[in-house]
């Protein structure tokens, strides 16, 4: 029975709960058993509170037995990336500088999931402050890829991805600044969705690069991603950058199909991917064609500049955002004779090497004499990328690319070389620069059995079409 429970998507879970074939407590018990088996090997979580999850489940069963209608996430076990503020759990961003810190409020997405009766099991591991592509930059632990324990789960939302992929949670939330939802989703064989910038409130997300960050779901299926996205999208007065318009309905649109939809394969991003990923992408394109989509090839050479611009813009914003960790108001404080010495000692001890590297890179890019050469040039590249996408979307409706040029790499393989690590995100970064929605959907495995993801991109606010495309790929490859 327990194993069967873990196979259910959200819709199936709800049918069974409604039919009283299973209780919410039994669902939580099944996930607890799975966590007891998997977590010692995978290491996806930084904190877990299954007792609290069970109490919530008990309360939900009582409410159901009284005839109450529960929310859209009722009984769904959720894993939250540990850069989302929670009053019920410490929130560390996998950094020593926030060890043990308990925020005074919940992130808006956390409240929205709770309003829909989602049940949070715990907080998941990440690269410190979401800076990385492998989750190896966590100050606390290394998370393993469930498909090969010697390999990384990707990052920075590697804990949420590994938790969902190993069925320790049904839904994970992550954040995506340069691919941090999509790349780990691809490397662990699940679905990862980055909404249009502004669709989801960033209130209570520990800021990394504010003009790029966006929260989104990691799930086993496109349908589950659509449901979770519907629950968390929508205007929030507490985030001035959240879009003031109605969010698209995704779940109902899934089965509308892709007949007549024009999909462009981005050849210059396909060329840099490994042969097995290229083959998987062609299978995904074929699945779309079988469903009636019109497939063409397109080269968007401007995207090659994206990586360079990203590694100016993201560190620049990070150096500013992380200035707040100064030992004064919350988090770590190291002693010092003066306030400046205290701040230096605190930041030196509290931040890990990659975070320091990015703070320094951003500080340099913003410093006197370099601002125009680096930051303003990078902002011009953002415009270039934006207009290149706009031009592409004059001839196609969606774009198809690999999510990552490679499948999961070995632990330690790229951690010594930051430039090599940065290249992991070459296919995902452009959508963050432009603010467009993007989604990674599983597309088989390489000869070693490691999962492959393909990425669908669409113009701003095109989530409905994006999900129709992703659903067609999922169905076609099933």
């Amino acid at each position: 029975m327990n194993d069967e429970i873990l196979d259910w998507g959200i819709a199936e879970l709800h049918r069974r709960l409604e039919a009283r074939e299973v209780s919410t407590v039994e669902v939580i018990d099944a996930y607890q058993e799975q966590i007891e088996i998997q977590e010692p090997e995978i290491g996806a979580f930084l904190t877990l509170d299954l007792d609290a999850a069970r109490s919530t489940a008990t309360a939900q069963d009582t409410r159901r037995s009284r005839g109450e209608t529960l929310g859209r996430m009722a009984g769904v076990p959720v894993a939250l990336k540990d850069n989302l503020c929670t009053t019920a759990f410490p929130t560390t961003a996998a950094s020593r500088i926030l060890e043990g810190w308990i925020p005074p409020y919940n992130a808006t997405v956390v409240d929205r999931l709770a309003d829909q009766d989602g049940i949070v099991l715990g907080k998941t591991n990440l690269d410190e402050f979401a800076m990385g592509s492998s989750t190896e930059n966590s100050a606390y632990k290394i998370t393993k890829n469930p498909y090969d324990l010697e390999r990384v789960p990707g990052g920075s939302s590697g804990g949420s991805a590994a938790a969902v992929a190993s069925r320790m949670a049904l839904v994970g939330l992550g954040s995506d600044t340069g691919g941090s939802i999509r790349q780990p989703a691809a490397l662990t064989g699940i679905v990862g969705f980055k909404p249009t910038y502004g669709r989801v409130s960033r209130y209570g997300l520990l800021a990394f690069a504010s003009s790029l960050d966006q929260i989104g779901p990691l799930t086993a299926s496109v349908e589950d991603a659509a449901l979770v996205a519907e629950c968390i999208m929508g205007h929030d007065p507490r985030d001035a950058t959240s879009l003031q318009e109605a969010s698209p309905l995704l779940l109902g649109a899934l089965t509308e199909g892709v007949r007549g939809i024009r999909v462009g394969i981005v050849t210059n991003l396909v060329e840099i991917a490994s042969p097995s990923i290229q083959a998987a992408l062609l299978r995904a394109a074929d699945a779309l064609a079988q469903a009636g989509a019109l497939i063409s090839e397109i080269s968007i050479d401007e995207l090659a500049f994206g990586l360079a611009a990203y590694y100016v813009v993201a560190p620049a914003e990070a150096s500013s955002n992380l200035a707040r960790y100064d030992g004064v108001r919350y988090g770590l404080r190291e002693p010092g004779a003066t306030v400046e010495e205290m701040m230096i000692a605190t930041r030196t001890k509290g931040f890990g090497p990659e975070v320091k590297r990015r703070i320094m890179l951003g500080t340099y890019a913003l410093s006197a004499g370099y601002y125009d050469a680096f930051y303003v040039t990078a902002q011009r590249v953002r415009s270039l990328v934006r207009s290149a996408f706009d031009r592409a979307y004059e001839s196609v409706d969606l774009l198809l690319t690999p999510t990552s040029p490679t499948t999961a790499f070995r632990i330690g393989e790229r951690s010594a070389d930051p430039v090599e690590m940065y290249r992991s995100d070459i296919c995902t970064i452009p959508s963050n620069l432009s603010g467009d929605p993007a989604l990674s959907v599983p597309a088989g495995a390489d000869p070693d059995g490691l999962p492959i993801g393909v990425q669908l991109l669409g113009p701003p606010r095109s989530e409905q079409l994006l999900f129709r495309g992703a659903y067609a790929v999922e169905e076609g490859l099933r």
């Binding site: 003009s211 007065p237 500049f305 404080r333 004779a337 306030v339 050469a373 902002q379 930051p418």
Partner: protein
């Protein structure tokens, strides 16, 4: 190839960022930051003058809301998170140099 930045640059940046680096870290960051800056150099290979600087994906500016009083965080809660506080204030070491 000459490095994009040297150890003196790294030390200066670290000072601006309120970080203290060991000699070994200075060497390591000199190397990795130089290599990252080489990657970033790609940006300068084309003429970008036709593309205005874009600092944000959204075109909205100056969103306003009603000037209504709202409940903020409790002072006690906020001060309770601080490493050190006294009465209604955050407490820090002396701001000017030692006497």
């Amino acid at each position: 190839m000459t490095k994009q930045i040297d150890q003196a640059d790294v030390a200066h940046i670290a000072k601006l960022a309120r970080l203290s680096l060991s000699d070994q870290e200075l060497r390591e960051y000199e190397d990795t930051l130089s290599r990252i800056l080489e990657v970033i150099e790609v940006m300068n290979s084309g003429d970008l003058s036709a593309y205005p600087p874009m600092d944000h994906p959204l075109e909205t500016v100056n969103l306003l809301r009603d000037d209504a009083v709202q409940q903020g965080l409790d002072r006690e809660v906020v001060l309770g998170m601080a490493p050190s506080s006294e009465e209604d204030y955050f407490r820090v070491p002396r701001i000017l140099g030692a006497p």
